[in-house]
Symmetry: C2
């Protein structure tokens, strides 16, 4: 069995996970959809996730009492990282594709399951590192244990999961070209600006866009009537068609489900 | 025979070429050094280049009367690009490493000659493109002809040589990992800022730094006494130790040679 896996430790990232899940469904994936969530995710959000995903699993490394729990005691700074690494314990699945909750799928990408562990796309900025927003992996308790051990011993050079995973899978840059996913499977939204001619040349084939960095799609507001991004944001960003794509999917498909779950409780959708 | 090849179409880039040549010599390369220069490079600059390089070759595509000349008539916008592609005509050498005039070598890199055409490092910004500031190639009139033809027919998606070369060698991202030079052989100075933790982790192994972008080392000024970059520049840049390295080499090894060549003529070194 094969699955797309994402992670949301709070209600903000949960919105991202919902949009990601919807985008995978809209492009008719034949794979299972799994969401790992933290204990802070609210009940209404959890219910919506359960409608979109095949499996929603609450992960609380603090509760777990296993090696991840112990590691977490030593390195509380790596909390979300340990939670992300938990995806290796999903041994009901033989192969998975992890996707950050801030990614959006633009076409069917089931062909990613032809790739081996660990396949990922290069990170712009330091392209000998892979970006850990989209990666192919094989769940295994053994690998999970090794990862937690690596993480505890070496920490993360960037304080997050990307540093840990690049430290652990450290021959990615030099060993096997088939483990280099094309950049269009994890197109950083910032690359639009850093090398515009390349984006114009190749960006039309984008399959996954990744809103990496501090400002996430859910940090903005949106006017569904004019279909425009609003709020105090950088002008350049708001022209991004990817950001508008995210908001159109969110406002049309996710917000109605959220409103149903919240019922009479107030719910701030971000739509104006 | 094997050679490092660079290009300077004017006196500004010629300064870069001198520093690059000196840095290769200082790290005891056993390879030949070749500089292609444009007809606008002044006599004193040419003389200094001749002292540092084994061969200094004036390239004037407008003069040449061959396919490059004809192509140039059609696409005058690609002037410097056609001049750069001229490196493929250096058939006295069986293998070469092209290096932009805005690169600086930090250790011996003769091992690059173990690689095949076309080997290059990924471009940050769009990492499925290689950066054309450092690449391994094999001179061949046949390849040169094909490149010029490609260039004339398809142009360059970014208006420069990088767009042409990535269009021509279009399977670089997917075909052969050995043609991916480690990023430390073409470390973009901007990557220091885009992903600082990775730079701190891996930057210590840098072998070649590339000052790509609009502001070149020679755009700044330098105070040799305090060994500090001066002038109206972004503060962040001036703290770059690589930029200081460039200026120390330029002011100590290149400026004295320039002064000798200029004699009584005024010469603006950029040193204060
Ligand atoms: O507080 C957090 C931070 C991160 N994440 C998860 O970890 C991923 C990586 O973090 P982020 O996307 O913010 O990092 P970036 O891609 O911007 O480097 C997110 O997409 C989420 O899936 C999360 O659930 N809660
Ligand atoms: O007016 C020019 C522009 C470029 N070049 C040569 O072409 C290379 C590529 O240009 P540049 O380094 O400015 O581009 P970047 O690396 O910033 O993209 C330079 O290093 C020089 O070798 C040159 O000789 N004259
Ligand atoms: Mn992300
Ligand atoms: Mn350059």
């Amino acid at each position: 069995m094969a699955a797309f896996v994402t992670l949301a430790t709070n209600d903000s990232y949960a919105r991202g996970a919902m949009v990601l899940g919807k985008s995978l469904r809209n492009h008719n994936t034949s794979k299972k959809l799994v969401a790992l969530i933290g204990p802070q995710v609210s009940e209404p959000s959890k219910s919506v996730l359960e409608r979109i995903f095949d499996e929603v699993k609450v992960v609380d490394v603090l509760d777990s009492g296993d090696t991840a729990h112990l590691a977490m005691m030593k390195r509380p700074d790596l909390g979300v990282t340990f939670t992300k690494l938990h995806c290796w314990t999903l041994t009901d699945y033989s192969k998975c594709v992890f996707m950050d909750a801030d990614t959006l799928v633009l076409s069917n990408i089931d062909e990613l399951f032809d790739r081996e562990e660990l396949s990922a796309a290069p990170d712009p900025g330091w392209p000998d590192c892979f970006n850990s927003g989209v990666f192919v992996f094989c769940p295994s308790m053994e690998t999970h244990g090794k990862l937690i051990q690596y993480c505890t011993e070496h920490g993360s050079f960037d304080g997050g999961d990307q540093g840990v995973l690049n430290g652990f899978f450290d021959n990615w840059a030099t060993a096997d070209i088939s483990k280099h996913l094309p950049f269009i499977y994890n197109l950083s939204s910032i690359s639009i600006y850093t090398y515009l001619p390349a984006f114009k040349q190749y960006g039309g084939h984008a399959k996954v866009v990744h809103f990496l960095g501090k400002t996430k799609p859910w940090s903005y507001k949106f006017d569904p009537r004019s279909q425009q991004i609003t709020g105090s944001v950088h002008d350049a960003d708001t022209h991004s068609t990817f950001l508008v794509d995210w908001w159109i999917l969110y406002s049309s498909a996710v917000v109605p489900m959220m409103q149903q779950q919240y019922g009479d409780q107030p719910f701030h959708s971000g739509c104006e």
